[in-house]
Symmetry: C2
Subunit: 456 residues, 2 copies
């Protein structure tokens, strides 16, 4: 029989609790604040999030039970398989052993439903009947649409207009699951009307879509807003990835030397890595690497500041490595990594020296993704290709140094809805976007007057 | 803990042999013949298929070993999970228990790689270095592209031109896996040039594409042709689906009362059902139902005849229920079911009364598919929706009769590359196509002079 290439846990072995890294931080995370420097209170957040989620957002309890109705829905695609990428190893001629956690097997095709399902559940329990959110390329919007349908909540997604027009397939997914998907800006909101009056042909932006989703939420009955990354409770829900991966690595008889995830808002990276960062905090020798695009080099180049999560500054100020909330990322195909900031928990770990970060140019990522498809078979999402490219760098270094190394990466989603990027790459129509320090200085001008985080 | 919804076999439990139903047929399958009535010999087929595959095509050995290198590649996505569709059952309020085998988890998104992988392997072992094939909407072409890359064979796919232009994503998949994908008709073949001279704007057809792929094969060095359905060896390779499903049903403590698969060329239906038909032949009480589109009602309406597999009559004559090889199926979205004939083995079982067939109109299928997506989560391929609609009919009948029933269906692929059909359905732009007996008579005129199969 061929050598084992994957470990699939039985349903009975799905983790029953999420891991909350807030319980193990050597120094506490600076809290979110308002622009005047005063702390954000749970009451401030209540119009936007249900109180049970707000409590989870600030919890420092190490293990948090996954509610039974959430488990039942997660079982639709979880536990996800963990693979050894033997064919890739052979192609690289490396002594490294490369493992990957396949989060592309969910109905929406990525890790996003891991948090969409519990978020919808908590809203439902709190009496909420309708959720609003924004989406760029559509990964998050489709995950929330899927989860809302499972629990019978209504769902409206504001989708950045240029994506709505150019990439209609994610919109069709959302509609198939029964959600409303509107182009943003949209005449149904005050914000949208004002913008359309000034500029009827605007392509829209994530900042505008967030503003519209929040406006819709706070002006509608029984409605709350849902966010697919960045916040603590989102990172918490994603830890099921790393918890499963740990058990699966054990079944392979392995423990990783290095754990890698791509980082956009930070949630899939948090998901694979936090359970291993926990080990590191407690003295275990494991490196943890966040792979970000060279076009959005936050943890590799940007300063640690208080900044808003959106362009219109509707969110509280969060402590994070940020390129400035007015920064417009270059049009790389990894839409899910085009963000100016990063989950405060992930940034805090970086500041504490518990994780590393690496910035990867687009062409190297696509080169890795094509090699992956041609060896391992599955076609990765453009976001995932950043984790792949970082893993290939690690494997090549192991080959140069002639030593064994165990690499674990999070394969955050498949690329079947993003094939135009491959087409552009294979036909020589893609380029790299590298941020210069000068561009960085200019993009940071927007946050000059804001409060600064306390020293460590 | 929630009730179990799926059984995932360990890698170690993957079947090591395919099941060959030819060994158990109560009466032998009539052989393929030439238009003059003489039998087709292995030598006749040798320019098109390698001899090891031809031997498999005519084998009557009950169990055929799956070669180790094939197993190794099948493990990329196999064993596939078997689910109980509890959420769908609840929505239908049925006493039936519905199980489904999820073949959508392969890299190409359907059951097609189950035969692409062994076909490429056998060609490689035989010394072949390049394969040609045709594809309609692209499911088969992408599966063969994937498999060729795994074994290092070159691959050229002739894709019906209208699909090539209108549905570029499957083409991009093939190219990502390193295959050449050409629009058909194509100026690189004699057939293609002749057709383009007469009609430069032709949309192409599957019949033309088959002719081009075979011409390319017989005029090129070290090249053979590969077919994704219909033939005996293709059905054989797909039986891994049913063999796994049997073991998984056992783990649920169940045996099906009825087994359902959609039927285009017949291979996925054969895959799920032949191991159960074997039980039926040996006296077990199990019904087996093939679900075909009402727009292509072969086993429900057409006569059992000798007919060619393609429009240009380049293939041998095969004994099958056929609408006539010049029949142009209506533009239903289930492109994989738009075929005039059907696998001879499947047709033979129908003729022997060992299986049933049901014809389903397009709108009922999409209704079932949307209900499926909104309960079970995964979005089905339009082909798969025929099996779903047939299963829903069975479940509703069980509800009317107030009795338990165990239903097993083959969920042959996901619909993420076919969302435009859902869009059309949800926006009221789809219609039914039902074949009338008068249309049937006209479409059958093309085969009037051909030899007739012997009586049973």
């Amino acid at each position: 029989m061929a050598e084992r290439i994957k470990v699939t846990l039985d349903e009975q072995d799905i983790p029953r609790q999420w891991y909350n890294i807030a319980a193990d931080l050597p120094k506490p995370l600076p809290p979110p604040i308002k622009p005047d420097g005063s702390p954000v209170t749970p009451e401030d957040l209540a119009p936007v999030f249900p109180m049970n989620i707000i409590e989870q957002e600030v919890s420092t309890q190490r293990w948090i039970d996954i509610p039974e109705p959430v488990l039942e829905k997660l079982l639709i695609w979880r536990p996800t398989p963990l693979y050894r990428a033997r064919a890739l190893e052979r192609a690289l001629n490396t002594p490294a052993r490369i493992y990957y956690k396949n989060e592309g097997v969910s109905p929406a095709g990525s890790h996003k439903p891991n948090t969409a399902v519990p978020q919808v559940y908590y809203n439902k329990v709190f009496g909420i009947r309708r959720l609003t959110t924004e989406t760029g390329a559509g990964q998050w919007g489709s995950a929330l649409a899927f989860a809302c349908r499972l629990f019978g909540l209504a769902c409206r997604v504001y989708m950045v207009r240029i994506s709505f027009d150019q990439k209609p397939f994610r919109k069709m997914m959302m509609q198939t699951w029964g959600a409303e998907c509107l182009p943003s800006p949209n005449p149904s909101t005050k914000t949208g009307r004002a913008i359309l009056e000034k500029d009827p042909d605007t392509p829209g932006s994530l900042g505008i879509a967030i503003s519209e989703a929040i406006e819709d939420c706070v002006t509608s009955p029984d409605t709350r807003y849902s966010l697919g990354s960045v916040l603590n409770h989102v990172c918490l829900h994603q830890t099921i990835i790393g918890l499963e991966a740990k058990r699966q690595m054990e079944k392979f008889g392995e423990y990783p030397d290095v754990v890698i995830g791509c980082a956009g808002g930070g949630s899939n990276f948090a998901g694979i890595s936090f359970p291993f960062v926990c080990d590191r905090i407690h003295g275990r020798d494991v490196r943890v690497v966040a792979a970000e695009p060279a076009a959005c080099p936050r943890m590799t180049m940007a300063p640690y500041v208080y900044d808003s999560g959106d362009v219109a500054m509707m969110t509280p100020l969060l402590p994070m490595y940020s390129l400035g909330h007015t920064f417009v990322p270059p049009p790389i195909h990894a839409g899910g990594l085009r963000y100016h900031g990063m989950a405060p928990l992930v940034c805090h770990l970086r500041r504490l020296g518990l994780i590393e970060a690496v910035a990867l140019p687009q062409l190297e990522c696509y080169e890795g993704a094509v090699l992956w498809a041609r060896t391992e078979g599955f076609i990765p999402a453009p976001e995932t290709s950043h984790a792949i490219a970082a893993a290939i760098r690690e494997a090549n270094r192991a080959a140069e140094e002639g030593r064994e190394k165990v690499i674990l990466l999070n394969w955050s989603g498949h690329g079947l809805m993003d094939l135009t990027g491959y087409d552009a790459f294979l036909n020589g129509r893609l380029q790299n976007y590298l941020m210069t320090e000068d561009e960085m200085r200019r993009s940071l001008a927007a946050i000059e007057g804001l409060p600064k985080p306390p020293p460590l």
